[in-house]
């Protein structure tokens, strides 16, 4: 039996550019409800992204990218990520991410009344994702 083509179209779009466009056999990412892996012919689904690492499995191997905030639309043969920020590992400045991590932790520890806890938490998460993908 001829093997069915297992690749689907994957697009990752950010406000500044088309970040990724190609054929993939699987994509894994974090949604707000937990981790998700998508193969071809997934049921139609729209879900909101959580900051995390997206792993794209192409014919030539795997690719990873950091993604923060946005949502995904999954339609059988086509998966579209609309992300606010997306970065390849080589675009990430670890020193900056470490600094941001320290800053966010500092803010959360001091817990001053005037800080935006939610924002600091998101900043911390972002920094952790950036550092995580580098390792």
């Amino acid at each position: 039996m001829a093997e069915e083509n297992k690749y689907f179209q994957l697009q990752i779009i950010t406000p500044d550019r088309i970040f990724y466009e190609g054929e993939a056999s699987m994509v894994e990412f974090n949604s707000v409800d937990g981790e998700l892996g998508v193969y071809k012919h997934h049921i139609p689904l729209t879900t909101v992204l959580a900051p995390g690492i997206v792993t794209i499995t192409e014919s030539g191997g795997q690719k990873e990218a950091a993604i923060h905030a946005g949502f995904v639309q999954i339609l059988g043969e086509k998966v579209t990520f609309l992300a606010e920020v997306a970065e390849w590992p080589d675009e990430i400045d670890v020193a900056r991410a470490e600094a941001a991590k320290a800053r966010a932790e500092e803010r959360l520890r001091n817990h001053a009344a005037d800080i935006d806890v939610a924002r600091a938490e998101i900043a911390l998460q972002r920094a952790l994702v950036r550092i995580g993908i580098k390792q």
């Binding site: 779009i13 950010t14 406000p15 500044d16 550019r17 088309i18 949604s31 707000v32 409800d33 049921i43 139609p44 689904l45 729209t46 879900t47 909101v48 905030a69 946005g70 949502f71 639309q73 339609l75 579209t80 609309l82 606010e84 920020v85």
Partner: protein, 285 residues
């Protein structure tokens, strides 16, 4: 007739003005190119966003969400995007006109302002400026758009404002820009467009539909707003380029006119001198 010296002085002053307008034109041409590229790059994101949101709403038109119904407050927020600098023809005043001629009562309008020039005009006319983000227009980023949108949406969910509008200049192409007043919230879609959306796919939402809507609509608005920001920057530079182009050609016209006058005055004075010499010589002989 003006003296030769006056004409000469006038001419050289126009020439130096022309040099400035020429340089400004070149600068805005370069900036326009950059801004246009950015506007084009943000297009796919926006288009997808628009498709997703329309198809979501087409299927869930009956959702009773505040973003779709509008608030109770009679106040209206207008996010106005203009420029920090003048010398761009009618660019700023056209945007201001959108606000003043929107048909809304002045007392009901709260302006979220981007662009100092237009802000001055609106303040003079007695509009309430709720917030000022003028620095953003120098180099708009998506993050800027997110912060501003968050502020406005917060006011909306607190019930301070009932409707949100966006006044900006739509960039059609290099020579044509169109000031536009757009309603952001409550969201309104063309019935016709909604019907065109393919309803055959049964979409699932995670978390549930309403929560997804809650998260996605602010993103949709932010993308709209970001698109408007980059288009406004492109339009501003396009308008300035045109204004400076016509200023340069006006200066050319004036210079050639003055050159003619100067030559005439020079010839006149020579003729006069000659007549005087001849008359003097005749008187002696």
């Amino acid at each position: 007739m003006a003296s030769m010296r006056d004409i000469k002085r006038r001419k050289s002053s126009i020439q130096s003005t022309q040099q400035i307008t020429k340089a400004m034109k070149l600068v805005s041409t370069v900036k326009l190119q950059k801004a246009r590229n950015r506007a084009e790059q943000s297009n796919p994101y926006f288009n997808h966003m628009y498709q997703t949101v329309t198809s979501m709403l087409a299927r869930s038109g009956s959702l009773n969400h505040p973003y779709l119904k509008g608030g109770d407050s009679g106040k209206k927020a207008i996010i106005t995007i203009a420029s920090n600098r003048g010398l761009a023809g009618g660019y700023n005043s056209n945007v201001v006109k959108l606000v003043t001629e929107s048909g809304m009562a002045k007392e009901d309008i709260q302006v979220y302002m981007i662009g100092r020039k237009a802000e001055e005009l609106l303040v003079r006319k007695g509009y309430e400026i709720k917030a000022d983000y003028s620095d953003v227009i120098e180099g708009p980023t998506y993050e800027d758009a997110t912060t501003i949108c968050k502020d406005v949406l917060e006011a909306f969910s607190k019930g301070e404002i009932g409707e949100i509008y966006l006044a900006y200049t739509h960039f059609k192409n290099t020579v044509s820009h169109e000031p536009k007043l757009m309603k952001l919230l409550p969201i309104e879609f063309d019935e016709a467009e909604l019907n065109e959306v393919d309803n055959n796919v049964l979409m699932n939402y995670e978390p549930n539909e309403e929560e997804a809507l809650d998260l996605i609509i602010p993103k949709y608005l932010t993308s709209l707003f970001y698109g408007a920001l980059v288009e406004a920057v492109a339009s501003e530079n396009g308008a300035r380029m045109q204004a400076m182009d016509s200023a340069t050609s006006n200066a050319d016209e004036m210079i050639s006119d003055l050159t003619l006058k100067y030559n005439r005055a020079r010839q006149g004075s020579i003729t006069q001198e000659l007549t005087e010499i001849i008359a003097g010589a005749e008187a002696i002989s």
